[in-house]
């Protein structure tokens, strides 16, 4: 029974190849709000399911989770579409929740810490798709040249997504590493988590380079309105405050 529940949880705290279900559903949903709801709800369901099993999960699941996290982080390097990138990073991040599986409340909080920073990028990605038809690096948008405020917001959202300080996922990753060291010592698993973190940065920087940097084309693109910029700034400030508060709880 427990193994069946673990396998079911592996669908929502996605482990490869079950993770392909999430990436397919995410890709099918085109509306940013629907995607946002999915980003918030999917891992929470996983945590609810895992709470019904005998914790901590079997070692095989930990290995499987680590492999999935590294696998999706590695594959994200080649992605040029922001929407798909968000899905891959979400899978990579949520699979790390298996490593700290123990206290259910902490898992819920950590799942939120991994999901919420992706929401703002998801909203921006939806807006980019609406304006340009796709949020893809091949379009050579050169966003900084044609819409500097848009570019600035995109860059900060991307930094939040790749777990930069002081966003919640930064502290969540630190907590995962610290927890892992405390439980099992500094071994390969800790190195793998750290490697996943570097790969996120690698893939995120490639997207920034593809979407923000460049000459830009001659199209007349309206920049983000001032109220929208303030709204996003408020979102980032909330994330930073949440991150600092989370540091006090998790670390």
């Amino acid at each position: 029974m427990s193994i069946s529940l673990d396998l079911l949880a592996a669908l929502f705290l996605p482990l490869f190849p079950l993770s392909m279900v999430f990436t397919r559903v995410f890709d099918r949903l085109r509306h940013p709000l629907a995607r946002a709801a999915l980003l918030l709800a999917w891992p929470q369901l996983g945590v609810l399911l895992i709470a019904q099993t005998a914790l901590p999960p079997p070692d095989a699941f930990i290995v499987w989770a680590l492999a999935t996290a590294a696998f999706y982080a590695y594959r994200a390097i080649a992605l040029r579409d922001v929407g798909l990138w968000i899905a891959f990073i979400a899978v990579s991040a949520w699979s790390l929740l298996w490593l700290g599986a123990g206290d259910v409340l902490t898992m819920h909080v950590q799942a939120l810490a991994f999901s919420v920073p992706l929401l703002l990028l998801n909203l921006l990605s939806g807006d980019l798709e609406r304006r340009f038809g796709a949020a893809h690096t091949r379009l050579k948008l050169g966003l900084a040249a044609v819409a500097p405020r848009y570019a600035a917001v995109f860059v900060v959202a991307m930094l939040a997504a790749v777990a930069s300080p002081v966003f919640p996922n930064f502290f969540s990753l630190l907590a995962t590493i610290t927890h892992r060291v405390a439980e099992h010592g500094a071994g390969l698993s800790v190195f793998m988590v750290a490697l996943v973190w570097v790969l996120w940065t690698w893939s995120g920087a490639r997207l920034i380079q593809g979407i923000v940097v460049g000459e830009g084309d001659a199209r007349n693109v309206a920049d983000l309105s001032t109220p929208m910029v303030w709204a996003y700034a408020g979102g980032f400030l909330f994330l930073a405050a949440a991150g600092l508060a989370l540091a006090g709880v998790l670390l």
């Binding site: 798909l84 930064f170 800790v190 190195f191 940097v213 006090g248 670390l251």
Partner: protein
């Protein structure tokens, strides 16, 4: 007084916010606002420094949580003063230099943000704050180097920097996790006190915890300070604006030396880590200097020069001369910042006069000046080997009789001989119209440099490490077995003598007539012109990773 550290960090942060908010209203005048705030930051740092020099007690400000502890101690206020000072110069220089560039306000926001991150790094009193600041420096540098958002080249090299820095962050994260796990606290003061009380209480991978943590901290320092194999980003970041290059070479790459100093109480409890630090520093110093000499581009040459200097700085840490490394990073920051900010002027002057010395025939026939005397080999070799040694001996005897017992001092003495010889070559070119004047200049240079260096090193050591037990502990941790020490001294002497002999024969044209010598030289040049193929290797690996990831995604239908 402890709140001063909060002010030191908050001022540039506030400046960044104000510049961003007032950019539309103030236009180019935001630079003045930013400069004014940086000046206030410098004044705050100077106040802290003078208070500590004046005997004020060290302390810390705490936000009350696990993170947000800021230290007020000799190392933090000294480094804060240096950073604020260099940042102020860069701010002032940029006011006109960046005037024609797009993103003027953004540049000042990033510059202020970088200043705040660097200051937070040096005053951090807990591991989380240190990690946050350490990480932010890498991120902000990425965007500063990519100030020209239209340039893919600038971002390509900025990306290499970011990736190297992120890889270098990992050992620090791991070290922090290990220390927290062992001592149950993020506070540096608590951790160092607990470690000093029972150094061997915790084991990791079958080794004492200080050994492992010391190694990890050293790795983080290597990445930040561009040590060999983690250096490839440094010479290629010249696509960024010149003020950023100045700030990077004067204030950011030095962070490795600072980090090792901050964790000095950990290194006191280590056995062999500092020896590895020395070896890495030595390799970097030699390779950086060799590559610097092979460059045709002045900014790239300065980049490799920084690599060599960083090697020297890390080497100083390796021999236990921690405070000397701090002095070195300050001195290097000042002179390298000056060189970068003056590079544009040099290029401008070179367009009028190339500055290439006339050959001797031209001097004799056209300028009607007597042929210069040159190659006083024996005297020069004797000076290189004997005079610095004598002066160092006298200097150390006058400053502190026991100084010679520290092996680090002797190792540095040997290295000083080599660099001294290089100095003679570079400055006087071994040719002169007046031999007596040349010798006087050489002797004066050595005397000033060596005595000055010794005195300053001693003063820095007393200021940064007032506890004599800690000072002795650092030198003891860097010490090696006497037999090995003698072997090393012998090898270094042989290297110096061989170098002189090689130079002598090369200059005497005996070697130049040999075909094997030309073939060897060509092969060597091919290797160093490709920078030991390190960049090719990394580029190939990165391409391989990206290509294989793409193939895998295609195979799995991007799911």
């Amino acid at each position: 007084m402890e709140r001063l550290t909060l002010l030191i960090v908050a001022l540039p942060l506030l400046s960044a916010v104000l510049v961003h908010l007032l950019a539309d209203r103030l236009g180019r005048r935001v630079a003045r606002l930013s400069i004014g705030m940086t000046l206030l930051t410098l004044l705050a740092a100077l106040t802290g420094l003078s208070a500590i020099i004046g005997g004020a007690a060290t302390g810390q400000w705490s936000s009350g949580g696990a993170l947000g502890v800021l230290l007020l101690d000799p190392l933090s206020v000294l480094m804060a003063t240096v950073i604020a000072g260099i940042s102020l110069i860069v701010h002032m220089y940029s006011q006109r230099y960046m005037a024609e560039e797009s993103g003027y306000a953004r540049f000042y926001v990033l510059l202020d943000g970088m200043t705040a991150a660097l200051l937070l790094m040096v005053v951090a009193g807990d591991l989380i704050t240190l990690l946050v600041a350490w990480h932010l420096v890498g991120v902000l540098l990425y965007f500063l180097l990519g100030q020209d958002t239209r340039s893919q080249t600038a971002y390509r090299y900025a990306f290499w920097t970011l990736l190297t820095y992120r890889i270098g962050d990992l050992p620090l994260v791991l070290a922090a996790a290990l220390l927290f796990n062992a001592y149950g606290s993020w506070s540096l003061a608590d951790i160092f006190a607990a470690m000093a009380a029972a150094p061997a209480a915790h084991q990791v991978f079958g080794m004492a915890l200080p050994e492992v943590v010391g190694g990890l901290i050293a790795l983080a320092a290597f990445a930040r300070s561009a040590q060999f194999l983690m250096h490839s980003w440094l010479p290629y970041t010249m696509s960024g604006p010149t003020p950023v290059s100045a700030l990077m070479h004067a204030g950011i790459v030095n962070a490795g030396g600072f980090l090792i100093n901050r964790f000095a109480p950990v290194y006191v409890e280590t056995g062999g880590v500092l020896h590895w630090v020395f070896i890495v520093g030595l390799i970097t110093a030699v390779i950086g200097s060799v590559l610097m000499l092979a460059q045709h581009d002045i900014k790239k040459a300065l980049g490799y020069s920084t690599m060599g200097q960083m090697g020297f700085m890390i080497m100083e840490c390796g021999v236990g001369a921690f405070s000397l490394a701090i002095y070195h990073l300050i001195a290097h920051g000042v002179f390298k910042g000056t060189l970068f900010l003056g590079a544009g002027g040099v290029i401008h002057e070179a367009r009028k006069d190339d500055g290439v010395p006339k050959d001797e025939l031209h001097t004799f026939v056209v300028e009607r000046r007597p042929e210069r005397q040159h190659r006083p080999w024996l005297a020069m070799a004797a000076i290189t080997l004997l005079v610095p040694g004598a002066i160092l001996f006298i200097a150390h005897y006058l400053v502190e009789a026991g100084f010679f017992h520290k092996q680090g001092a002797v190792v540095l003495l040997f290295f000083g001989w080599i660099t001294g010889a290089q100095l003679i070559f570079a400055t006087y070119r071994m040719r002169t119209e007046n031999l007596a004047r040349l010798f006087t200049l050489i002797l004066t240079s050595f005397t000033v440099v060596v005595i000055g260096y010794t005195l300053i090193a001693h003063a820095f050591e007393l200021f940064l490490y007032p506890d004599p037990t800690l000072r002795a502990g650092i030198h003891a941790a860097a010490g090696i077995d006497l037999v090995w020490f003698d072997v090393l001294v012998g090898v270094m002497t042989a290297v110096i003598v061989a170098g002189w002999l090689f130079t002598y024969y090369a200059e005497q044209q005996r070697l130049r007539e040999r075909e094997w010598f030309h073939a060897l030289r060509r092969r060597f040049y091919r290797v160093i012109s490709r920078e030991f193929f390190v960049n090719d290797l990394y580029a190939g690996v990165a391409r391989g990773i990206e290509t294989s990831a793409t193939r895998l995604n295609v195979l799995l239908r991007w799911r």
